[in-house]
Structure formats: C-alpha cells, structure tokens
Amino acid sequence: MVKVAGAVSDVSGSSLTFSAHLAGLSVISFGGIPVILPELHQLIVVTHGWVSDAEFSDFFALSQIVPGPNFVFMLSLIGWKVGGAFGAIGAALGVTGPPCALTFFGFRLWHRFMTRRGG
C-alpha cells in the first residue's frame, strides 16, 4: 500500500477499515443485519470509538424512520461520520457487496436446479 501523508489518509484509511470489517461480518449475518448488531457495536463504539454510545443508538433510531432497507442506512450514517461521503458509500457497499454477490451466483444455481427438476 502507498502511504499518503496527512489527515486525508487517516480518514480514508478508517473508511476502508470500516467497510472491510463490514464486508467480513456481512458474510455471517444469517438472518439479517440485526444478528451482527452487537458485534457492530463492539467494533464501532468500543474498539475504534468511531461514534459514541449515544450516537450509535441515535443512528439506529434515525435509520428506522427512513424508508427503505434500514440497516444499510444506519451503517452509512456511521460511515459518514467515519469518513464523509466516501465512508458512507464504502459502508453501504461493504455491508451489501459480499452477500449480494453470493445471492447473484446462488440464485443462478438455484434457478438452474429448479428448472432441471422441471419445477
């Protein structure tokens, strides 16, 4: 990795760390994002201190009043605090990317299986 000097590298570095962690946790979130919520709290509030305890639950509440897939927004809001727009988009892609890729290929396999069976 090329090291870039200054505060910018700190922020984008944190954003990358955040979305890499999200990508890792997303793969084991069987049953949805609430399953990894305690793990996310540990990562975001306790280990890295990216947001405070109060902000974590505020972002949880805020994401519930926005229409659409709530937990993507909650993590994007935290990503926004970590590293601005870059952090927000990185968080959304990190948490949805690996499961969506799995689904894309899983759906094709499943579709092929169902049609071969004649159903």
Binding site: G24, L25, S26, V27, I28, S29, F30, G31, G32, I33, P34, V35, I36, L37, P38, E39, A54, E55, S57, D58, F59, F60, A61, L62, S63, Q64, I65, V66, P67, G68, P69, N70, F71, V72, F73, S76, L77, W80, A88, A92, V95, T96, P98, P99, C100, L102, T103, F104, G106, F107, R108, W110, H111, M114, T115
Partner: protein, 190 residues
C-alpha cells in the same frame, strides 16, 4: 435465462429503468419494516414480474443467505430479467434515493442532536425498534419449539455470545457445521 424463453413479453417489458423504478417505489413506500408487503405488491401484484409462489421461493432464498434480505431480493429479481446490470439497477433503485434522504436527515440530526427533545424522540424510536428485533427473535425461536436440537443450538449460540463473550464469527464458524451435520444425521435417520 429460462424465463426469457417462457415469457418473452414480460422480459421485454422489464427494462433496467423499470427495475430501478419498481424497487425505488417499494423502498420509498416501505417505511419501518413495511418493505416486505410493498416489495410483494410491486413485484407480484402491480408489475407481475413474478408469480406469488416464485416470489415466496425467491424471498426464502434471500432470507436464508446472509446480508440485507431486500438487497439480496433486488439482486435476484434484477438478475433474473437483465443479468448483472439488472441486479445493479434494482439495487440502486432500492438504495440510492433513500440513502440520500438518510444522509440529509443525518446532517439535520447533527445540527439538532443537542436538543433534549430530539434525544427523547430518538430514544423512544430506538427502544421500539429494539423491541421489534427482540420480538422477531422470539417468533423465530417459538416456531422451532418442536425441534429440541434446534433449540439446543440456539441456547449454545446465545450462551457463547452473551455469557462467554466469544466473537460472533467464532460462534457461527463453530456451531454452523455442527448444526448442519446434526440435521443431516436426522434427515438420514428418517
């Protein structure tokens, strides 16, 4: 894909922009956990992209796989009609506009976060939302009450995380193969 041969008229109708618009509508209408009924309404009733049974099957696949169920659903529906680009269009329809709204609200929140009334309102909402998560977990648990093995694994996972504070990754990696093995043995014994 297969459906192209069966129903060419539907495939021609489901363009990239139609996928984007359909999922945008479901996302904007689906406030607070109402995303599922709206997704069903748009996909099955209004646009007839899938039959009731096909939607139910696809949804259970998406719920079985990890991640955000509705993002997975968007990928399935999109890729069914338009391949990878369709998956991207449906995904962006689901997330892009609501994400913009979320960011605007989030920016607004930072301006008013220090007001006591805001804190109380948000505290109430997160309490209610946490209650819904607990209720959903309880429903899933009670639906398994006839399966002692499933309950045993639920108890093991719960104590692993809550009592011994093991990382979730470790608990899942340890218990998932065992529980799959256990249900395979049960299936074999039948």
């Amino acid at each position: 894909m297969v459906l192209a041969a069966e129903q060419p008229d539907i495939v021609a109708r489901v363009t990239l922009s139609a996928l984007f618009a359909g999922f945008l509508k479901a996302a904007l209408c689906g406030f607070g956990g109402a995303l599922l009924p709206w997704a069903r309404r748009v996909i099955v009733e209004e646009r007839r992209w899938m039959s009731e049974a096909e939607f139910a099957d696809t949804l259970s696949l998406c719920q079985f796989l990890p991640g955000v169920n509705f993002a997975n659903l968007a990928v399935c529906v999109g890729s069914k009609f338009r391949g990878p680009l369709g998956a991207v269009a449906a995904f962006l329809g689901l997330t892009l506009t609501p994400l913009t709204i979320a960011v605007v609200i989030g920016a607004g929140y930072l301006q008013v976060a220090h007001f006591a009334v805001v804190q109380r309102v948000l505290g109430g909402i997160s309490g209610a939302a946490a209650g819904l998560v607990i209720a959903a977990a309880f429903r899933m648990l009670t639906s398994q009450y006839r399966h002692p093995v499933a309950l045993l694994f639920a108890a093991l996972a719960f104590s692993g995380i809550v009592l011994t504070h093991l990382p979730l990754t470790l608990v899942v990696a340890g218990l998932a193969p065992l529980s799959i093995g256990a249900s395979w043995l049960r299936w074999r014994a039948r």
